[in-house]
């Protein structure tokens, strides 16, 4: 298996890193405390979130240390840090709930808040109950990115329009979050199974590249004819998207962003192309080049993210529908942002696999255990999905008089349900195990992602709220 050149690392000994992280956390907390005490109002959700971020950073660093070196001492303190972060996060959730007067599910900011909280909870459960200690390596960085995004997407508490003021809404959204979390967990477990089942690293290379291609193609549906990318306009005073009329958003075109993303798409696709060449020719050098191409792809993706972030933050842009120049914001394009960040993150995970496969395989549970865990997780996800759809239907019936109107989101939720029902059927009735089951679980999660992101970003409909 061709390997890219290893980056030199100085592995810190156990206590040194823990001490450094501990000091860093304490320092940051102290500085934040000083800053906050000046302004009063210590326990608002912004400060609590900042505290959570500090703890998650500490936890993330220690988990990464564990993921890279395998020193068990890191795990104990990483857990502690995660607990502390979770405490602060819970405080932030409670505060936001109290301030808003409704459970925090009404905007992207609130959804992210709950998502990060769920990640921390899942990390601790996976560690304590299932003994998968290394999961923090993945969940904590995602949580950190989530909190950072939240600082950028900070929204005021918007009072709910009448249709959203129902208990059943809260039930439905809670169930959706839990179900999607369980599906995400099953996806992670299925991936870990494939690693333990000795799927070749280059197959993961191809899959990572494919994921990047799909993400960039999805983003590039907003490509405009002269090389720009369409984004939604943002009103900085209202801190909300700009609507032309009910349900119709105002779109702006950021020039040249389309060309850049097209270029990055080519870089993202390169590893897959090189992989195919390698498969057909079996020229060992090709695989090496493919891995180098992955580095290039990551660098360009980071560049694209920076370019997008800077352009979105500064500048006013023209619209195709209305005269004048309007501002936009990162908060107006949560899906583009998630896509770019997600693709970078997945590529980095591939690098982790490439460099540390043996250690990972040592630290993860066995293949058969993971296969069983995947099934158990889906056995939890499926009833949650069922209840989520039922609660949504009941809410729709009370609000609009129709429990099923074949809305794109409803239809794709049903498709998700059918796919997971398919997984369970194949497993229970046909005895599907191992790789086939894992692929099916991965397919299921891909559909979940499309239902959650794709439907809102690519297809219009009644589900305009989320």
């Amino acid at each position: 298996m061709a390997r890219a050149a290893r980056v030199d690392q100085q592995p810190a000994t156990g206590t040194t890193l823990v001490l450094m992280v501990g000091l860093g956390v304490a320092f940051l907390l102290f500085m934040a405390f000083l800053n906050v005490v000046k302004n009063g109002n210590l326990l608002n959700d912004s400060n609590l979130l900042y505290a959570a971020l500090i703890f998650y950073c500490g936890a993330g660093t220690l988990y990464l240390g564990f993921g890279i070196t395998g020193t068990p001492a890191y795990i104990r303190y990483a857990s502690l840090a995660t607990w502390a972060g979770l405490l602060a996060n819970t405080g932030a959730v409670a505060h936001r709930w109290y301030e808003a007067g409704h459970p925090p599910f009404a905007s992207i900011y609130e959804m992210l808040l709950m998502f990060v909280w769920t990640l921390a909870v899942l990390t601790l459960i996976a560690e304590k109950k299932y003994d998968v200690k290394v999961i923090g390596t993945v969940t904590m960085p995602v949580a950190i990115v989530g909190v950072v995004l939240m600082q950028l997407l900070r929204t005021e508490v918007h009072p709910l329009v009448p249709a959203l003021q129902s208990t059943w809404l809260h039930v439905h959204v809670t169930l959706a979050m839990l179900a999607y979390a369980a599906c995400a967990l099953s996806f992670a477990l299925a991936m870990m199974f494939l690693i333990q089942d000795q799927v070749k690293t280059e197959t993961f290379l191809a899959a990572t590249s494919l994921f990047g291609i799909a993400t960039y193609l999805g983003i590039l549906t907003r490509f405009e004819k002269w090389g720009g990318l369409s984004v939604v306009a943002w009103d900085p005073e209202q801190k909300a998207e700009v609507f032309l009329s009910r349900g119709v958003r105002l779109y702006l075109v950021i020039p040249d962003l389309g060309w850049l993303l097209l270029l990055v798409l080519a870089a993202v696709a390169a590893p897959l192309i090189l992989y195919s060449v390698w498969r057909n020719g079996h020229n060992k050098a090709m695989l090496d080049i493919a891995n180098r191409a992955m580095f290039l792809s990551i660098s360009l993706q980071v560049l694209a993210l920076l370019f997008f972030a800077l352009r979105a933050r500064d500048g006013r842009y023209a619209s195709l529908d209305v005269d004048g120049l309007f501002p936009t914001s990162l908060a107006a394009s949560p899906f583009i942002l998630s896509g770019l960040v997600g693709s970078i993150f997945v590529s980095l995970l591939y690098l982790l696999l490439l460099w540390r496969r043996e250690e990972l395989q040592r630290m993860l549970p066995g293949a058969e255990e993971l296969d069983r865990l995947t099934y158990k997780t889906i056995a939890i996800a499926f009833p949650l999905l069922t209840l989520m759809i039922a609660a949504g239907a009941y809410w729709a019936n009370r609000t609009w008089g129709s429990y099923w109107s074949w809305d794109p989101k409803e239809t794709w939720a049903a498709i998700t349900w059918l796919v997971y029902a398919g997984y369970l059927h194949m497993r229970i009735t046909r005895g599907w195990r191992g790789r086939r089951a894992a692929y099916f679980a991965i397919l299921g999660f891909a559909i979940v992602m499309f239902t959650f992101f794709g439907v809102t970003y690519l297809l219009p409909g009644l589900h305009a709220y989320a």
């Binding site: 129902s166 069922t386 239907a393 008089g401 429990y403 239809t411 498709i415 229970i428 297809l459």
Partner: protein
Amino acid sequence: MSGLPTLCNNSNFAALAGNGGKRASSPSQKEEVMAAPTLSVPRRIWQTLAAIKTGVILLIVVVVLSAAGTVILQRPATDPDEMTRAYSPQVLRLLDTLGLTDVFHAWWFVLLLSLVSLSIIAASIQRFPNSWRFYSRSYKSPDEAFRRAIPVRALIPVNDHNEEKALSVADRVLQKAGFRPQRIVRENSFSLFGERHRFSQMAVYIVHLSLLLIFTGGTIDALYGWRAFLTLTRGQQSTQVQPQNGKVRDLPFAIRCDGAGQENYADGSPKRWWSDLAVVKNGQVVLRKQIVVNEPLVYGGLRFYQASYGKTGKLDKLLLTATPRNGGPAEELTIGPDETVSLDPYATVRLAEFFPDYALGDGQVYARSNDLQNPAVHLIVQSKAANKAINVWMPPIPGLEQNASSPYSFEGKDVQMAYFTGLEVSHEPGQWAVWAGVVVMGIGLILVFYFVHSRIWVAPARDVHGQLNLWIGGSANKNKDAFEHRFHAIVKQLESELKIFPQAELKKPFLR
């Protein structure tokens, strides 16, 4: 030996021996397959319908077509203009002919869903007899071959003459573990059999039944359900509702709006729309309810939802002060359109016209818009003294107004515009089947995933050397690893209670 399918068992042996994933076909089926030329067409259709492959293919087709229905613009929801904007005329014609612009109501989609239902029914009916046979007849007494074949088992050596004591100890242990053992009489000794949650074997049929319930409800609603719209102003009553497509429907009762309103948040966005509704039947008010969004009024199988709220552009009430010309206190009065109010025993005033936004043209007053921007009021004062009608205009319109001759001068204080409340009316007779189906599915899923049918047998057995052993075997239809833990624990407890040092068991067959 892993992956034992337990949903369908021809016999316990077939289950334990691991028939792989295939259904053990009953002998009659085999004969029929081999005697293909004489297989009747209906029978063959039934076989295909009941096959798992058919179900899988049907579901894939449903998924693909549903996905198409979300990607292709659908007709009732999308404006016709948007349709022509999105697709070229040829493409649009093709999509329309194929029915792809209204996938979910197309006849072939309905047919597809019916086929899915039929396949569920057929598959369930075909498998039910075997499952029922397994469910209804417990395999309580393990024979020699069974005891050798079962993977989860243990053997505990027992002192001779202690067969009865050993069994009673086992009885106690199984009782404590929740297995409720029964004594089974064999040729010249007893054995024990305990099991838990037998019903979980049938749980899968409950889940499929619930699916069928939901489908039935949906079909009933598709055939007999309808939705319509109704607009009412305050005080207005109606027995007719307007469906989106089609002629007006008559209700068996009347709905009256006694009031409606909108509350806003501080920033002006709507917080709450409400309507006070009354159901009037044969002149009597049968039901009153204040409805808001998310809380409809339900009567006679119909549901009335608060859907919208808006201005009619017409006046509801005008608040005026009337001051007599020859001195005297000013009166405050409220007057509605075409309403006559007495000012004093000798004079009355009638609100003849109201323009929320007036304009003058050709010496005439006309309404420019429905928004309250530039109001004009036309009052007619009838005075017994003057014995004629005096036209009072606010603001005074030159050429029309006779304000000077009016015994009272008027000043407008407040204007209340009339609002309409928009109600969505729906009739969904099938929804009860749907909700029942949902509840049953919830129960079914809990039974399927969280209740395990586990069995334990205990039997005395003598080995080749004449040593008496207590044979224990166990089986569970899911979560086998958790069951094995319990089994180990029970065996350990048995061993300790029998105060026997665990000698090397004849086999350590704790296979998965």
